[in-house]
Symmetry: C2
């Protein structure tokens, strides 16, 4: 062929190209022999087009077309022609035309792939991961990666336009004693010493603020060696942002604008702004969660005061013991069978509740085990609080506040899904604010930083650090979307006396603190600007943008739940010589086991 | 202060702001008491501005200004006023105005830094690296990081506009037996197994081509555990690019355009295009280097044929033994003293030459030890070949071709610098093409791939793979600039029979090859498109754009030559518990030594 190099993408051909000679390059999606005519569906990143090979006009092309099989790579030269009306395929973007082949060259033959390249695959994920290079040929996977690319470009351009500077922070850095488990990298040059891969660029971005960079960002690779849940990867990507001299309010607004721009420019969704601000306390009260799904109601209603003296002892004794009684109103479900209600009761127990009390509001009156124990006055007040109407079903949990929040929060989500209350096309953002600065750990009898020890307390709570640390609120904020935390950040401490009070609350002397966070504290002594920042989980953001439910589908080469790559078979044993150079040995119990 | 949040950047204030009230945030660059008036130079990322505190108009501001020292972080509210003509500072971009302080707030005090924050520092690099957050406050360092940021954005936008998709490839991947030394990461979940940090995304980008992504890029972090030279870092950044179905010529043109866009949009330099194409062979012949500095001439001239039968035995016997005699013409230096010439002779010997012959062309005739051994005919031909004129100095090296190229190539560069022949503002690009595909190793008596075993041979040389592998040229290309290799790439093999011939030339059976490069070869069987790509050394590109000579000055947090971070003190010892979890032990000889 004179030139095998493409003039057009397969998926871009339309009626306006009719009459043009084109060269296409792509993969054979399907080959059909139709009474001597050979039809090839040719596929590239842009889509599919039908190529027709006619033995009368181009016998040489037919001869080759007869030999090709799925996934062969071809160059096709031909003319774009109209399809006859009865063969127009309205499901295909190129369905009004086809390419009449004049010449075909096989660029590369292909073995039959282990699964068919199409959006709907009926194949186990491990097979897809082993043959990731075939899995990624599926249009839906390509579109997700392209969306991911687009998202990165939009975010970078947004931040660049606002004076944020992209800085690459080190991957080979220092192991820090706090936080999650580090991935370690043995040093060859410094025997017995190790680098750690960064869990986040947190310290470096704060140092960049001390360095006067003023506005920093990075789409950064981060690492955590934790046992993986479905939505975790050992290496993940975050949009990492930090700014100096920027009031928190202005910063949050800018981040809202960034996310709104991202949604507009990637998936064409106009996000409602400003995002509601919900305090941590309110979120826990209303939704039993600090990352509420706001796409539906069914809020948790606190009935503790109403049932404090109730004849229903399960309720009143729980309240007396410092617990809570809360309910959700499952609208219109009073007619559920006993069996159905019981199955939700089992779910509640699996979630940690002792039981799930219920009350159905029927035409003939209230029904259910709880009903008869409630006085008329109690019922009136409950009905008012829960806005219960005839046809509604109330579900109650009485327990310690954490348990009530967890159980009813989860039930709310499951019921929302079960009852189709959730609009899959809705994007409901919010900021969760005023997180507690510290968490008390019963086991070690001390406070721990809920975010990290450099998080700034709410100004008016600073005196409480000495008197009642558990009540101190942090200048921290999470961005949530549809039940996911998509970003989290805070203002940072930049004043020494606040930092000292913080360490004191954590039970650390300045000397101990210096041992743990030495170079950062030293840096802070040379003039740290007021600063704060945020990090967005980029993989999850892409997952939400793409409307997918599996995080691995949004990453080009993901790892399994056991942190393996099924394609490259990483991790793997290495040569003894490599370990010699790194001054390390694999422990005997491991090598013995392998023998 | 009502609001401490900045309304303007320090460095942006000009005459047009006169009369405006501004709030500035920044670092005290200098404080001077001038007869009761306090002058503060306030600095932020954008530059410096002078703040004046007048005891008559704002005694409170003066009181605070008296207390501040260098590197204090301040908020200053004040009015922009004209400087009186005699105090205008033309060296300062804000030098026509100053800010009359109305209010000053100390946001954070600062200790006296270990060195003054200014472009010219008289302090050892280790101190700068330990206090990197102060070193990065120096305007020249900030400008370099901002340039680096800008370069990344320009490259991404350029590639995005041309349909390249940015894909993040894994950092935790598989150790490969070939190439440089890997950094290893022990696996906790898979005892005795290791990940490797990528030396480049080479395999993944080729897999993305097999996956039909068609055009890929990434500004990728890569890792090599090699002993570091001045211009190497253990972790470095490359602009990594791969494309399918794109003819090499179109690809090289696109890369030229990318680099030209980069230079235009970062430093305003218009690069001359198209870049000259120089074959590897020609580059070695003319410049003794495959990364020639084309900013000046002084090309190497081959005199071997002329002196083959010369009476000067050093020359004729070298040629007889298969060696070369080449010269460079050092224009206008015939008058150099014997001492001066001898010192270049010593340099030549340090570079590996046995000696440096010379000949000065003077008014009174040719002078130097070589002169008398050359016949008139030889001298006529040499003069013609070297274009020697009266006043010129010829330097000769006779040796094996590799030695001649190395010695004269290096002498050429050193003389170019010494004689100020190099325009520091010139940017002379070229493509070096037709690299040898294979290199023969005398020690192991076999061929090795010069780039990697997937590099496509020049089409017409493919038959030579079986008969004369050393003569096969590769479809490989390096982009060079001013004596640096800034990028290197190749077309890749996508046809099985070529790949097999390549492995055969390397002395590998397909089975052995499969063991080494298993998953990539398997992927190639499912329809690999014709593809090729390139990788640019981004750190070095930034260095050249910024006009710096130290690679570390172009990286925010670089490592030393022993791969240490002096700021964080990475690498460092870790807890025994961490090693327990990773199933590894530090070798006894190391731990004993430490005790």
């Amino acid at each position: 062929m004179e030139s095998v190099h493409k003039t057009h993408h397969c998926g871009e051909l339309r009626k306006e190209h009719v009459g043009q000679e084109v060269v296409l390059n792509g993969w054979v999606h399907k080959q059909r022999d139709f009474g001597g005519l050979i039809f090839l569906d040719l596929r590239d990143r842009s889509g599919l087009v039908q190529v027709v090979c006619n033995p009368e006009t181009s016998p040489a092309a037919v001869e080759i077309a007869q030999k090709v099989r799925s996934e062969y790579v071809l160059a096709v030269r031909g003319k774009v022609i109209n399809r006859s009306p009865e063969t127009v395929n309205p499901k295909l973007e190129t369905g009004e035309i086809e390419v009449q082949a004049e010449e075909i060259e096989i660029l590369t033959p292909a073995k039959t792939p282990p699964f068919v390249i199409q959006d709907q695959v009926d194949v186990d994920e491990p097979v897809r991961l082993k043959y990731r290079y075939l899995d990624l040929r599926r249009p839906v996977m390509q579109q997700t990666l392209i969306l991911r690319h687009r998202a990165m470009q939009v975010v970078r351009r947004f931040l660049d336009e606002r004076g944020f500077i992209e800085v690459e922070t080190p991957m080979l850095t220092k192991s820090t004693p706090e936080g999650a488990r580090d991935y370690l990298v043995p040093s060859r040059v410094h025997p017995g010493e190790f680098y750690a891969l960064p869990q986040s660029p947190q310290l470096f971005k704060q140092l960049l603020m001390v360095a006067g960079m003023e506005r920093y960002f990075q789409i950064a690779r981060c690492f955590r060696d934790e046992d993986l849940r479905a939505d975790r990867q050992p290496e993940f990507t975050q949009i990492d942002i930090e700014a100096s001299f920027l009031p928190q309010e202005a910063f949050l607004e800018m981040m809202e604008e960034m996310v709104a721009t991202l949604f507009r420019e990637t998936i064409g969704v106009e996000v409602e702004r400003p995002f509601p601000r919900i305090t941590y306390r309110e979120a826990m009260e209303k939704y039993g969660s600090d990352k509420p799904d706001l796409r539906f109601g069914m809020e948790l209603v606190d009935l503790s005061e109403i049932v404090r003296n109730s004849g229903f002892k399960v309720f009143s004794s729980t309240v007396a013991a410092g617990g809570q009684v809360k309910a959700i109103n499952v609208k219109g479900c009073a007619g559920w069978s006993r069996k159905e209600i019981d199955s939700w009761g089992e779910t509640a127990q699996q979630l940690g509740a002792k039981g799930l009390a219920w009350l159905a509001v029927k035409e003939e009156g209230r029904k259910g085990p709880v009903a008869k124990f409630l006085s008329e006055e109690e019922w009136d007040r409950i009905r008012e609080a829960t806005e219960a109407e005839t046809g509604d079903l109330l579900l109650f949990v009485a327990d310690r506040p954490q348990v009530v929040a967890h159980v009813l929060g989860e039930l709310r989500l499951k019921l929302g899904k079960h009852l189709n209350l959730i609009d899959p096309n809705a994007y409901r953002f919010a900021w969760i604010t005023e997180f507690p600065l510290l968490e008390y750990d019963e086991e070690t009898k001390r406070y721990y930083a809920m975010h990290h020890p450099f998080t700034m307390p709410v100004e008016e709570d600073i005196p409480l650090l000495k008197t009642d640390p558990g009540r101190v609120r942090a200048q921290a904020y999470d961005m949530v979307l549809n039940g996911y935390e998509i970003g989290g950040g805070s203002q940072r401490i930049h004043r020494r006396e606040v930092q000292e009070a913080m360490f004191e609350a954590l039970g650390l002397s300045m000397d101990e603190a210096r041992e743990k966070f030495g170079f950062l504290l030293e840096a802070f002594e040379y003039g740290a600007p007021p600063h704060g920042g945020i990090a967005f989980g980029f993989d999850r953001l892409v997952m939400l943008l793409a409307g997918r439910s599996n995080l691995r589908d949004c990453i080009a080469f993901p790892k399994t739940a056991s942190a393996s790559c099924l394609m490259t078979e990483a991790p793997s044993p290495v040569d003894e010589r490599q370990l010699d150079e790194l001054h390390i040995t694999v422990r005997e119990e491991v090598t013995q086991k392998a023998e």
